[in-house]
């Protein structure tokens, strides 16, 4: 199994969610996150006092998938999240040893 993590622009969440559902993903976890990459932050001005705000709001999506689906799913997310402008985010996957569905106790791919 693989854990795919995507950090994306908040307004692309619906597209990514729809694309994942169309692909057949049954569940995912979404967290409101903040961070920065090459995009950096933005500047705010209050009575002439300028502040640079480094962290920008992002959405973090986590999906557990079977190994065979992993690469294709990464592509699905990237395609749905892309706007072509700076700050589109990142997607990565890591191997997962085990997973358990809490209600039934099913293990491994059966738990997905």
């Amino acid at each position: 199994m693989k854990l795919i993590t995507a950090v994306i622009k908040p307004h692309r969440l619906d597209e990514v969610k729809d694309a994942l559902q169309a692909f057949g993903v049954h569940g995912l976890t979404i967290t409101e996150a903040s961070g920065y990459g090459r995009q950096r932050g933005h500047t705010e001005v209050y009575r002439g006092a300028e502040y640079t705000v480094d962290l920008v709001p992002k959405i973090r999506i986590e999906v557990l998938v079977e190994d065979a689906d992993s690469e294709e799913l990464v592509d699905v997310i990237v395609k749905a999240a892309r706007t072509g402008k700076i700050g589109d985010g990142k997607v990565w996957s890591v191997p997962v040893d085990d997973a358990v569905r809490v209600r039934t106790g099913e293990r491994g791919p059966d738990a997905l």
Binding site: Y46, R47, G48, E50
Partner: protein, 442 residues
Amino acid sequence: MPPGILTLAADKVTLSPANTGFMLICSALVMIMTPGLAFFYGGMVRVKSVLNMLMMSFISLGIVTILWVLYGFGLAFGTDSGGFIGWDGNFAGLSGIGLTQLWGVSTIPIYVFAVFQLMFAVITPALISGALADRVKFTAWALFIALWVTVVYFPVAHWVWADGGWLFKLGVIDFAGGTAVHINAGAAALGVILVVGKRVGFKKDPMRPHSLPLVMLGAGLLWFGWFGFNAGSWLGNDDGVGAVAFVNTQVATAAAMLGWLAYEKLRHGSFTTLGAASGAVAGLVAITPACGAVSPLGAIAVGVIAGVLCAMAVNLKYKLGYDDSLDVIGVHLVGGVVGSLLIGFFATGGVQSKAKGLFYGGGFEQLGKQTVGVVCVLLYSLVVSYVLAKVIDLVMGFRVGEDEEVAGIDQASHAETAYDFTGAGGGTVGRLGEALTKKVNA
């Protein structure tokens, strides 16, 4: 204040129900300015100190009201002694005043004048609190208010507005409080921060306003209440001067808001909500002394000049290194000085008095008088406020501990948190916060 009422024929001076009702409404309008100021300031501080900021204004409604009734009204508006202070035993406790006894040569009862002026006395020390955000002991602040109104506000109100007050007799024009309220509070703010010092992290940590909608709400309430503050200061509507004051208040405020916004668009690139709110308040401050002396076109000039100059002045604190946290000096002192001095240029001689400014052929005479008023009130308030703050600091300490300031003065001073975010949304923070908050005295 109403020298113009002196021009009414003596037989006309009877109690006017219309003026009395109008003045009671104006008193309520001025009262709402203090909560408005609390929101204006409260929105500008960080989440951890908004309650303290609100309370610094609200406590003035408590303390100053009582002191005003006990002796403040007597000191400010009792029988004059040498132009510097008044006293009238009948005013002590407001207990020796007849129900229909008229104030001076006005058409309103003394009770109405006393409560109208009370609201001015309440908001003036509250204005100072903006310079002291996040860091002063609540008890020290409460003591400061009590001492400050007693030795600074009550006497200065006497100088400027009482018939025998020395600045009033000199001919200094201050329709509704450019010197007595705004220069007075702004100079006091400077005196106190020289003692109290900077916030922890000043110029280093981000100190963004936590709620600009609250700032806008407060500015809106101030703008609304200010019509009572200015138009009411003529104590009636027998000769139309109060109406001119009302119009000028609106006009100058609009112009100042536009002036501030234009300046910051050119200088910093954006029209900000904080700029709009600040510009409006700067305009209200500047037109306060001048609203009965200038024409509506003059009010536009006063507003634009005040809006731009105050927008420039608020950045000085970073250059000079004084932590005037919410720009009491930059807005109220500078705005008050600008408005008071511009009377010397823009007074038409055709509204509240015959005194003409430089641009209306009056020469430098009125400008000279205005300068005397500005300088004397500024210096007196600055010096006495500094001394009062120093004494309080030596006796009990003016500041909270650094740990309390960093953790947040709301919890240290008031045992409260402004906003409860626990249980909002499904995130871990909300759930954990809820799980870790327990009521102990069920």
